[in-house]
C-alpha cells in the first residue's frame, strides 16, 4: 500500500520532483538544493517570478488539516492521512474534524481574523470560495501550480472554475457532488411513472406520483425538495432565467414574476398534499431521508454524495434522475474544495501544498468516489474507460455522467451566505405558514438587495 501511494505521489508531482522535492519516494529525503531559510525570506512570493525552489519543503514539519468529513468517512480519512505521512519523512499531517461546513466556516474565519491556530489545509464548502477570496483568506495557488508544474487541466472544467475567485485559483476541487433526484425505482415501475425532465412536466408527475389514503391524507409524496439549504431549490430558479444576483452585483430578481411563480407552484403542491416543505429545522434532513427509506416518498432531491448511504439503507432499487430543467437544465457544484489559508508562514504553506496535491490526486479522489457518492473529478476518469468501469459499479451515476457539462460553478458573491439564509427562511415561512407568496418574495427581495449592497 505504502508503495502504491508513494508511486502515486511521484506521479502527481512528477515535475516538481525535478527540483528535488521530497514527495518523490518513500525514502523521503529532502533535496539539498534550495537552501534553508529561503522559505521565510520569500514569504509572499506569489508576485515574484516563479522559482520552484521557493515552494520546497526543506525541514520536518507538522501541519493541520481541517475537514468536515463525518464519522462515516473517518476510516477513509485516517487511511489517506497515514498513507501520506508514511510516504515521506518531512511532513506529518494531523487531521481534525471541525464540524459541518458552516461550523468549519465559522472556525476558519475566526482563526483567520486572529491569525493564529490556522490549519495548513482546510476544506471549504463551494459557496464560500468567493467570500474567502474577497476577504484575502486564501492563498492564491496559481504560482504554486506554475512552479511545481501541477496538472490542473485534468480536473473537470466547471470544477476548476468553481474553485476560482476573480480569475485566481484560490482552491482546488476535492469532494464534488451535485443535486440529484433519487427515486424509488421499484415503486416508480409499479406506478408506471417516468421521472420528469422539465419543470412543465412536474405538475403531472406530482399528481400521479402521490398516493392518498381514503381520508385524503398523503401516504406517498411524489417528491420532497429540501428547504434547509437553498442549494436544493435554486436551480429551479436559475434554469428559468431568474437572476439570483443581477450583473450589477447589488440587486436580485427573486422578487420578480418568474421567481414568484415558481414559489407559488411549490406552495400549490404543498397545499395539494403532493409534497411537504421540510423547513429548516435540525431534524428536517433526517426526517426527509427516513420518509424516502420507509417508502413514504417516491423521490427526494438530495446531494449525490449520499448515494452509497441511500443504497445501504433502502431495500429497493434506487434510481437517479437529473433535476427537471426549463430554458436550461443546468445544475450546480456542491461539496467542498481544498485551500491554504493565506496567513500561514511559507514553510507551512509549502508543506500544505504537497498535501493538497496529494488529496486532490486522482487515486485519493477515486477512493472517495467509490466508497461514497462523491464524483470523480478527473477528466482522465470521467472521459475514459475508467469512467465506464465506475459506471458499471454505480449505474445510477449515468444521469450525472450524461450531464457533466451542465454542472456549473456556484454563484460567487461576498454576501452569498447571508442571501442564502434569508432566502431559505422566507421559503420556509411561505410554504409552511401558507403565507402570500407574492408579498413574501417581494419583501425578501428588498432584504436581499440591502444585504448585497452592504456586502
Amino acid at each position: 500500500m505504502k508503495k502504491k501511494v508513494a508511486l502515486l505521489l511521484a506521479a502527481v508531482m512528477v515535475t516538481s520532483a525535478v527540483s528535488g522535492c521530497s514527495g518523490g519516494g518513500s525514502t523521503g529525503k529532502a533535496a539539498v538544493g534550495g537552501g534553508n531559510g529561503s522559505a521565510e525570506t520569500e514569504a509572499g512570493g506569489e508576485t515574484a517570478p516563479v522559482d520552484p525552489a521557493q515552494y520546497e519543503v526543506t525541514e520536518p514539519i507538522t501541519i493541520k488539516w481541517w475537514h468536515a468529513l463525518e464519522d462515516q468517512y473517518s476510516a477513509t480519512v485516517d487511511k489517506v492521512v497515514s498513507d501520506f505521512n508514511n510516504s515521506q519523512d518531512l511532513i506529518t499531517v494531523e487531521a481534525e474534524y471541525i464540524g459541518s461546513y458552516s461550523k468549519l466556516n465559522e472556525a476558519l474565519v475566526a482563526a483567520h481574523a486572529a491569525g493564529t491556530d490556522l490549519p495548513a489545509v482546510t476544506v471549504a464548502n463551494t459557496p464560500y470560495v468567493a467570500e474567502y477570496g474577497a476577504g484575502g483568506l486564501t492563498e492564491d495557488l496559481t504560482p504554486y501550480i506554475k512552479a511545481t508544474g501541477y496538472d490542473i487541466e485534468d480536473f473537470g472544467d466547471g470544477m476548476v472554475e468553481a474553485a476560482k475567485y476573480n480569475g485566481k485559483q484560490v482552491s482546488l476541487p476535492f469532494l464534488i457532488s451535485t443535486q440529484i433526484m433519487y427515486y424509488n425505482k421499484d415503486m416508480a415501475d409499479e406506478m408506471g411513472i417516468t421521472m420528469p425532465t422539465t419543470w412543465d412536466e412536474m405538475d403531472a408527475f406530482m399528481e400521479k406520483g402521490t398516493k392518498k389514503a381514503a381520508d385524503g391524507s398523503t401516504e406517498v409524496y411524489a417528491t420532497i425538495i429540501p428547504g434547509w439549504d437553498q442549494w436544493y431549490f435554486e436551480t429551479f430558479y436559475l434554469n428559468q432565467g431568474v437572476n439570483i444576483i443581477n450583473e450589477d452585483q447589488v440587486t436580485t430578481d427573486l422578487g420578480d414574476e418568474k421567481a414568484v411563480a415558481i414559489a407559488q407552484k411549490i406552495q400549490d403542491w404543498c397545499n395539494a398534499g403532493y409534497t411537504y416543505w421540510t423547513g429548516t429545522a435540525e431534524d428536517a434532513s433526517s426526517n426527509m431521508r427516513q420518509n424516502f427509506i420507509s417508502g413514504k416518498a417516491l423521490s427526494v432531491v438530495h446531494t449525490s454524495s449520499l448515494y452509497n448511504n441511500y443504497v445501504d439503507q433502502c431495500d429497493f432499487e434506487i434510481g437517479m434522475s437529473w433535476l427537471p430543467g426549463a430554458d436550461t437544465k443546468n445544475q450546480e457544484i456542491g461539496g467542498c474544495v481544498l485551500l491554504i489559508p493565506s496567513k500561514n508562514d511559507q514553510a507551512t504553506k509549502n508543506a500544505a501544498w504537497q498535501f493538497l496535491q496529494y488529496l486532490c490526486s486522482k487515486e485519493v479522489n477515486m477512493t472517495w468516489a467509490e466508497g461514497t457518492g462523491y464524483m470523480p473529478t478527473r477528466k482522465s476518469v470521467l472521459e475514459t474507460e475508467e469512467g465506464k468501469a465506475f459506471l458499471e459499479k454505480k449505474p445510477a451515476f449515468q444521469a450525472i455522467f450524461d450531464n457533466l457539462d451542465l454542472i456549473n460553478p456556484r454563484i460567487q458573491h461576498k454576501g452569498w451566505s447571508q442571501l442564502a439564509t434569508i432566502w431559505k427562511n422566507i421559503m420556509a415561512e411561505v410554504m409552511m405558514e401558507g403565507g402570500d407568496v407574492q408579498a413574501g418574495m417581494e419583501q425578501m427581495a428588498d432584504e436581499i438587495n440591502d444585504v448585497l449592497a452592504d456586502a
Partner: protein
C-alpha cells in the same frame, strides 16, 4: 482610633487591598474594558472577513434603528420577552403549584422532591438533545403519545407557532423544580400561628392560601421574579441546540441574534451595536426591578 500607629495600619490596609486587587484587575480587563471596546467597535465597519476596518460614525446605529437591522432587533426583543414571560410563568406559577403538591414533610415526599429538582443539574445540552429526540416529528415519542389520543403529528421544532413552546418545555422541565424548592423553603418559614388564627376565624384552605400563604411569600416571589427574569433574558443554549433561532428566526432571542451577527455573519460592527443596546436594556431592567423590590413587598415583621 489610634492615630499615632499609622504605619502598621497602612501596611495592613495595603495587604488587605492586595487581597482584592487581582479581582479588580481582572474585572477591569474582562468586564469593564470590553464594554468600552464594544462601544468603539459599534462605530466601525469591522467585518471579520476583511483585513482592515475604519470608523464609520453612526452607520451601524442607523442600520439598527432605521435600516434592515431594525426588523430583527424588534423581532428578537419580542421573542425574548415572550420567552421570559413563559419562563416566569413556569417558575412562579408552576413552581408554586408543585410546592403545594409536594408540601408534605415525609421521607417519601422528600425523595420525590429531590428527583423533581434533579433536572436543574442535568446539563442543558444533554437535556436539549433528549428533547430534540422526544419532540422529533416522525419518530419522537411525544407525537406517538399524542397520536394515541388522536392528535396528528406536530412539527414541534419546525413550526413557528410551536418552536418557542418547545423551547419553553425544555426550560420548564429544568427550572420548575427550582421554583418549587425555593417556594417550599419559604413556606416552611411561615409561622403556623397565622394559619391557626385563620382556621379559628373559619377560613377554608383556599382562603388561607390567598390570604396568608401568597402574601407571606411575596418576597420570595419577587426574588424568583427578578433572578428568573434576568437570567431568562440571557437565554442562549437551549435555543442554539433545539432550533438555532429558527424556524425563520421565530425563536431568535437576543443573545442568539448577537451571536449570529458576530460568529456566523462575522459582522463584529453590527454585533457590537446590538450588544451595546442589549447591555443598556439589561441595565434598565435590573435597575427597574431593584426599584420595585424596595417597596411593594410584605415582610413578616
Amino acid at each position: 482610633m489610634n492615630e499615632k500607629k499609622i504605619n502598621p495600619r497602612k501596611i495592613s490596609a495595603v495587604k488587605d487591598f492586595t487581597c482584592v486587587l487581582p479581582v479588580l484587575i481582572f474585572l477591569a480587563v474582562f468586564t469593564y474594558y470590553p464594554i468600552v471596546e464594544l462601544l468603539r467597535i459599534s462605530f466601525t465597519d469591522w467585518n471579520l472577513l476583511n483585513d482592515t476596518w475604519q470608523y464609520v460614525g453612526f452607520k451601524n446605529w442607523n442600520w439598527l434603528f432605521a435600516g434592515s437591522g431594525n426588523k430583527y432587533l424588534w423581532n428578537s426583543l419580542k421573542v425574548t420577552v415572550l420567552y421570559s414571560i413563559g419562563e416566569l410563568s413556569i417558575t412562579l406559577i408552576g413552581g408554586m403549584i408543585f410546592a403545594l403538591i409536594f408540601n408534605r414533610m415525609t421521607n417519601s415526599f422528600a425523595a420525590m422532591r429531590a428527583v423533581i429538582f434533579m433536572p436543574k443539574y442535568v446539563a442543558m445540552s444533554s437535556a436539549a438533545v433528549v428533547f430534540l429526540w422526544i419532540l422529533n416529528t416522525d419518530s419522537g415519542i411525544f407525537n406517538y403519545l399524542l397520536s394515541l389520543i388522536g392528535v396528528s403529528p406536530v412539527d414541534w421544532l419546525g413550526d413557528r407557532n410551536m418552536a418557542l413552546i418547545s423551547v419553553l418545555m425544555l426550560t420548564g422541565w429544568r427550572c420548575i423544580g427550582y421554583g418549587m424548592m425555593v417556594y417550599l423553603s419559604a413556606m416552611m418559614g411561615i409561622a403556623t400561628d397565622y394559619y391557626e388564627a385563620a382556621a379559628l376565624d373559619g377560613a377554608n384552605a383556599v382562603q388561607r392560601f390567598f390570604k396568608i400563604t401568597l402574601p407571606m411569600l411575596s418576597p420570595t416571589t419577587l426574588f424568583l421574579f427578578v433572578t428568573t427574569f434576568l437570567s431568562s433574558m440571557k437565554v442562549f443554549q437551549s435555543v442554539d441546540i433545539l432550533t438555532q433561532g429558527g424556524p425563520y428566526r421565530s425563536t431568535e432571542v437576543f443573545v442568539y441574534n448577537i451571536y449570529r451577527y458576530a460568529m456566523v455573519d462575522f459582522r463584529m460592527d453590527r454585533a457590537s451595536t446590538v450588544g451595546i443596546f442589549f447591555f443598556v436594556l439589561l441595565l434598565i431592567v435590573t435597575v427597574a426591578t431593584m426599584k420595585v423590590s424596595n417597596g411593594n413587598v410584605t415582610y413578616d415583621s
